[in-house]
Amino acid sequence: MKVSRATGALGITCLATSIWIATAAAQDDSLLPQVRAWLADITAPPIDRGIRDLDAPRPPRHEGAIQVAGDGTNGEPFIRGSIIVKFRPGTTPDAQRAMLAQVDGSTTRPLSDASFDIVSIDAAADPETAARRLDAQPDVEYAQARYRVYPAFVPNDPLYARQWNYPAIDMERAWDINQGAAPSVIVAVLDTGVAFRSGLMRFNARAVGGLPALGLVSVPFAAAPDLGGADRFVAPRDFIWDDVNPVDLDGHGTHVSGIIGQLTNNGVGVAGMAFNVRIMPVKVIASDWDFIFNSPLQGTDDVVARGIRYAVNNGAQVLNISIGRTGAAAPVVQEAVAYAVSRGAFVAAAAGNDFESGNRVERLAEFAPQIDGMVAVGATGRDRRRAFYSNTGSYVELVAPGGNSRVGGTEGAILQQTFDFDLVETYLNGPARYQPPRFDSFAYEFLQGTSMATPHVAGFAALLMQQGITSPAAIEAVMKRYATDLGPAGRDNEYGYGLINPRASLRGLGLAK
């Protein structure tokens, strides 16, 4: 009886304690245990949610704030419904008809300037097979499918046609010269992390603002399918959670990584600038979910500075910093960038999105003119004009496509693969529909900002580095020299030296031209 009374008392005490902890935890974060545990590596395929081109334009991010039409080719390199055939001289029309009957073909009208015929075949038939059958005939000199010819390297990624940003900087001809750099070039993405591995993680979601605590939640992650496999990533590091799992809890870093190195010409999704580089995910800023999960650190100057030093000390040759802040100067970051450049790394930093909010100086980019080997990057839209949000100032050195939804709507932004934001930003749905996020569901999203412009420059730097320009200062010099001057003649505070011109830069100097 004593035992049962004691057991009952203990149970009541435990219950009371649990209620007290839950109540207190909702009011005091310090009492809530931090939970971040990698539960399992899972092999379930990531969820592809397609392109989000009907979404309203997402505004560029400011400080404090924490989309397929095919190209008609069906992914085939040739046209269906007809093939090219040349009969040997002297082949009679009857003999020609007999041969063509084997492929249910018939000649079309005679062509000018042609020694061959175009033969119509069934649109459902395989042109290559039909051509092979005719080619085997003794009276046929040759037969072939009607392969499409391209003026330059045009990626076969089905959404490439929606990526206006690459033709805007003549990337197709630049890719003729250098197709996506090489795995020997490592680009560090200092951001919210990258969707680089699959698994299940457990977090403790505290109450934040008007949102209730979700308690212990299991969150699925997947590697972004259009970024590549595990061998694509090198030396990942998370300075927010202080471990080696810099998974993206936001989508920003994954989108930025896509601009730099989205798998290209793989017949899937979209293209990236330097699609053969390896990516080093370095998480240096916390997202909303990091905050909800009560991460031990947030993205402060010291964390960013440590991330920069970590990246170069672990082999990164190009650093992308699509983050920033206003306020007072950031000497600790400036010192870290100077260190990075002194170690042979090129640094691209976003010039900021605050133009319409007072055009406050972007402190992580303002010192770029003082460091040869670091470039502050502004943004342009598809009209090649400065985007409405892009900061201006003496520190703006170059501009690149960052998107402008005021010119072209949603599709005026930059399309890359990242998370399906509907399943990430559940905190925007109100308490009733608030639920744990999913980081295993991907979509092609249009984002805009100098955050999107900067990785164009980082990818461009990777191409130059692989082409043979190994000095950060020389990379900056070649970028400025060949930039397409926009705005007033010469350097100006809106466009700096102008819009990047990768093709001309990669070609360099000839002896006389």
Partner: protein, 234 residues
């Protein structure tokens, strides 16, 4: 100047090795010519009109040394040529000669005294057609020294990979040259000569700001050429 070579392209060492091989060949040829000259009969005093053909091989060192060195890895290269020559009884000669230099290098970027090779092949071809007039001296020995001067029309071609048609060059320039040498009669119908030439072709290079010749402020397409000739005819 620091040079960052792209491993895909031939190295400067390869160019130097080729140069050493050429020098060796030239030395051997000179030796042969000297032996032939010693054993041959003295040159006969010229009393008649002569029409001869000749072929030659030589090495040109370009005046735009830095520019050629930057792109081709060397400021000099082999030149092959040939032409016809008329020698008048008064020992005056006139010849027309066509020659060609071709070098394959790569496009570069220059910055603060450093050169970065970009691995994009560039082929430079210089094809001069030169008209030279001069005088052959009678020194009463088996050697006939001569000297002259003339006018040249120089075709300059620069073709690089990935270039649009308007990014390649095919232009013609006029230049001037002086030449001097000595001819050795090897046999009745064959002679050999060693010759040196200095040529200048002003304002042929450096006009385009996107060029190393502009960076180095070098505009002359001329150079100094040493060549060996084989002359067929009396």
């Amino acid at each position: 100047m620091l040079r960052f070579r792209n491993p895909r392209m031939p190295s400067e060492r390869d160019s130097k090795a080729m140069c050493f091989r050429l020098c060796g060949s030239v030395a051997l040829w000179l030796g042969g010519v000297a032996v032939a000259a010693i054993t041959a009969s003295p040159a006969a005093a010229q009393t008649e009109f002569m029409l001869r053909g000749f072929g030659d091989i030589g090495s040109t060192t370009f005046t735009a040394k830095k520019s050629f060195d930057a792109v081709l890895g060397s400021d000099s290269g082999l030149v092959f040529g040939g032409g016809v020559e008329a020698v008048l009884p008064q020992r005056v000669f006139v010849n027309v000669r066509a020659s060609r230099f071709r070098g394959v290098g790569q496009r570069v970027f220059l910055f603060n005294g450093e050169q970065f090779d970009l691995g994009i092949p560039a082929t430079i071809t210089v094809t001069p057609v030169e008209l030279t007039g001069g005088y052959r001296f009678d020194v009463g020995w088996r050697v006939v020294p001569y000297g002259g001067a003339g006018l040249g029309w120089h075709r300059y071609e620069e073709i690089s990979r990935f270039a649009n048609a308007d990014e390649n060059i095919d232009e013609r320039f006029t230049g001037y040259h002086i030449v001097g040498g000595a001819e050795f009669r090897l046999a009745r119908w064959i002679a050999a000569a060693a010759e040196a030439q200095w040529a200048t072709v002003h304002d042929a290079l450096g006009g385009d700001s996107n060029s190393v010749s502009h960076e180095f402020n070098e505009s002359d397409l001329g150079g100094v050429t040493f060549r060996l000739k084989v002359v067929i005819g009396r």
